[in-house]
């Protein structure tokens, strides 16, 4: 388990992370979200020993985190980085060695991974000769090759086509089932909803939402309503309880302040005429994110 206790990071007068307390459970995928500049990368860098936290403590498996534990950690940074001139094999073996893996083991493991991602033919190619998507797969392998117990994935699926996204997603789920604790950061809310049971949304260095995803959704009072009708629905904008109004091809989408407002809207509509569709839905993570992380991020 990774435990952050009152972790604060200040750069001069600017506070990047403010008294962050988190516990990331073992064998789970933990969604770590936030708008740009919310303090995600700084938090990762503190976990990885790249930055010293100004206050607080970080524990991994009950021990204070240092370079001694770096062999148990894997990292896929948002800014991708590999040696362009080295071959896939040399590169991965070197990076795995730096994580304390023996050469023979790493060669065997990398063959398995290349096979899994259908890129065995690139083993002895230079990384710069690979397509962006394939470089991305190599980057992913470099983060997981040494069987880390804690894996930090920062935007792992960006720039990949849907087929490859599924392939990597499957790999992430398999790692989780093998017991790896994964911190997953992404701006793609549908990926987070699909993969993470626990999550945290950061804003200005503080968590604004934290916990179990279903709990978070339930406790979020606002609901969505999708309406299809063949008459003008703009009058709903003025209805009390309606927070957001968005026109669609068939009708409109509403966000209401709480589920009690749904019958009110229903009543108004049936007075007007025929409704072909009326559906009250749980809020999406996207809604929660926009609400909590601020309007500036859309």
């Amino acid at each position: 388990m990774l435990q952050l206790n009152d972790v604060t990071k200040k750069f001069g007068k600017h506070t990047a992370v403010d008294q962050l307390t988190l516990s990331i459970p073992e064998g789970e995928i933990f969604g770590f979200l936030g708008a740009n500049g919310a303090g995600k990368t700084t938090t990762f860098r503190m976990i990885l020993n790249l930055l010293e936290n100004t206050e607080g403590e970080i524990f991994w498996q009950g021990k204070k985190i240092t370079y001694a534990q770096s062999n148990e950690i894997g990292y896929l940074p948002e800014e991708r980085g590999l040696y362009p001139k080295l071959t896939v094999k040399d590169q991965l073996v070197y990076l795995a060695k730096l994580r304390g893996m023996a050469k023979a083991d790493s060669v065997k493991a990398l063959k398995d991974w290349l096979e899994r991602f259908n890129i065995t033919e690139y083993e002895n190619k230079k990384v710069e000769e690979l397509s962006k998507g394939n470089q991305q797969k190599i980057q992913f392998i470099s983060a997981v090759l040494h069987n880390p117990r804690l894996l930090i994935l920062d935007e792992p699926f960006s720039g990949l086509d849907p087929v490859n996204v599924e392939m990597l997603k499957k790999a992430v789920i398999d790692l989780k089932q093998a017991g790896t604790s994964i911190i997953f950061s992404s701006h793609r809310m549908e990926h987070v909803e699909e993969l993470c049971r626990f999550l945290c949304i950061m804003k200005h260095g503080r968590p604004v939402v934290e916990g179990d995803l279903t709990e978070i959704k339930r406790s979020f009072r606002k609901k969505n309503i999708t309406i299809s009708a063949d008459y003008d629905l703009t009058f709903l904008k003025e209805t009390p309880g309606v927070v957001k109004y968005q026109e669609t091809q068939q009708g409109c989408k509403l966000q209401i302040a709480s589920s009690e407002d749904a019958p009110v809207v229903w009543k108004l509509l049936t007075e007007k005429g025929f409704v072909s569709k009326f559906e009250v839905e749980e809020p999406t993570l996207n809604d929660i994110f926009i609400e909590k992380a601020g309007e500036a991020y859309a």
């Binding site: 240092t66 991708r80 980085g81 080295l86 040399d90 730096l98």
Partner: protein
């Protein structure tokens, strides 16, 4: 510590395997072999060709000057020309002769001459002038009634021996030997600091610009990686030095007997004492570490290749300054500028070695300068480590020295524990 050696061997092997390294080593080896065959090559060019033939028109009585000239002619072959001056000049233009020498007698009854050649830069004419000068002196002297023996005495060089009273002073033979060695080391240091210093800086910047740095420093401590790199590239330089030394050794074994002593005096290694050679190695290593550490620190703050050159250039100027100062020092190793400079760490490796090589320097002076140098290296290493830790996380643009300050600030935020 294990990871230190992983970074070390990776840097060393990936560098040694590059084409550039293999080619440059091969060129060095070829040059070394070439030097040992220089006497043969010179012989090949000069030995086969005959001495240049010079046409002579002698206007003196009985052609007596020609007689004197041809009896003592060396390195050229005077031939009496049968014809007038115009015909002779024509013959020179047709390259039948190297040149034309017209000899005559002055009013004082002394020899004089005019030389006609295709070019004025002609060593044959110098030889003839020198010989004619001797004839002139002999004639003038005999006209004045001085006998032959006296003239011989006049020409004998004065006996002048230099004896140093300082026990540590070099003998003349040693000095001649050191001169070549000092020059070689100073030049080698100059070249290697520029080449390897640049290599370290670009290596680090490369890892930053390809963004692989963040993965590297999350695996092991950045400062350990910095020193592993400095050591690896230094070791690569030493590998090249060892190759060259081995080549010299092999060539001496093969060619030593044929070439004889004169050749080694020329290179200056034969008379160099083992002490001087030891100091050469010490100052080479210390000088490398001093400049390599600076370059590593500087390389860490920039993230684009274009900016490396800009930031490293002051260091290059410093090395160039040291180099030119030591060229000056070769001719006056005891001047006060040289003495002072030998204590300034940036100059010590070249200048102090120059003093040791050229003069007798008291042990305490050497010890003091090395102590200052080592202290400076440690200080710079500490400073560079601080810059490096922050610098590797910085991705600004531009290669200004403000970056250094920023890197130091950022470094204050970074973990001190390293393991």
């Amino acid at each position: 510590m294990r990871k230190f050696w992983i970074v070390f061997s990776h840097t060393y092997l990936s560098r040694v395997k590059t084409k550039g390294y293999i080619i440059s080593s091969a060129i060095f080896l070829l040059i070394i072999c070439g030097i040992f065959y220089i006497p043969d090559i010179i012989e090949r060019f000069t030995g086969d060709s005959e001495d240049p033939v010079v046409a002579v028109i002698d206007e003196t009585e009985n052609e007596q000057l020609y007689e004197l000239l041809s009896s003592g002619a060396e390195d050229y072959q005077p031939v009496l020309f049968d014809g007038n001056e115009e015909e002779a000049k024509q013959a020179v233009e047709n390259e039948e002769f190297e040149g034309l020498l017209v000899l005559s007698q002055s009013e004082q009854n002394l020899p004089q001459a005019v030389f006609y050649g295709m070019q004025l830069t002609n060593s044959t004419s110098d030889d003839m002038e020198a010989q004619l000068q001797q004839i002139k002196v002999a004639q003038a002297a005999s006209q004045a009634g001085v006998d032959e023996a006296t003239i011989q005495d006049i020409y004998t060089p004065v006996s002048f021996e230099r004896q140093a009273l300082d026990e540590e002073a070099k003998t003349e033979e040693e000095l001649a030997g050191s001169y070549g060695l000092v020059y070689i080391l100073v030049f080698a240091l100059y070249m290697s600091v520029i080449i390897y210093g640049m290599m370290i800086a670009t290596d680090i910047t490369n890892e930053k610009s390809s963004r692989v740095m963040e993965i590297l420093i999350s695996s092991s401590s950045p400062v350990g990686q910095m020193f592993a790199k400095i050591l690896a590239i230094g070791m690569m330089g030493l590998t090249q030095v060892a190759l060259i030394t081995a080549a010299v050794y092999v060539m001496v074994k093969i060619r030593g007997d044929e070439l004889g002593g004169g050749f080694f005096d020329f290179i200056g290694i034969a008379n160099a004492s083992p002490v001087t050679l030891t100091f050469a190695l010490i100052f080479f290593i210390l000088g490398y570490f001093l400049y390599a550490t600076i370059c590593a620190g500087l390389g860490s703050v920039v993230s684009r290749m274009e900016d490396v050159q800009q930031l490293v250039s002051p260091v290059i100027f410093l090395v160039m300054g040291a180099f030119f100062l030591s060229i000056y020092g070769l001719s006056s190793p005891d001047s006060s500028i040289i003495v002072i400079a030998s204590y300034i760490p940036f100059f010590t490796p070249m200048i102090m070695f120059l003093r040791i090589g050229m003069l007798g320097v008291p042990a305490w002076e050497i010890a003091l300068s090395i102590a200052i140098l080592v202290a400076a290296i440690l200080l710079i290493a500490w400073f560079a480590a601080k810059v490096y830790r922050g610098g590797v996380l910085m991705y600004g643009k531009g290669g200004s020295f403000n970056q250094l300050k920023e890197a130091m600030k950022l470094s204050g935020n970074i973990k001190n524990k390293s393991k």
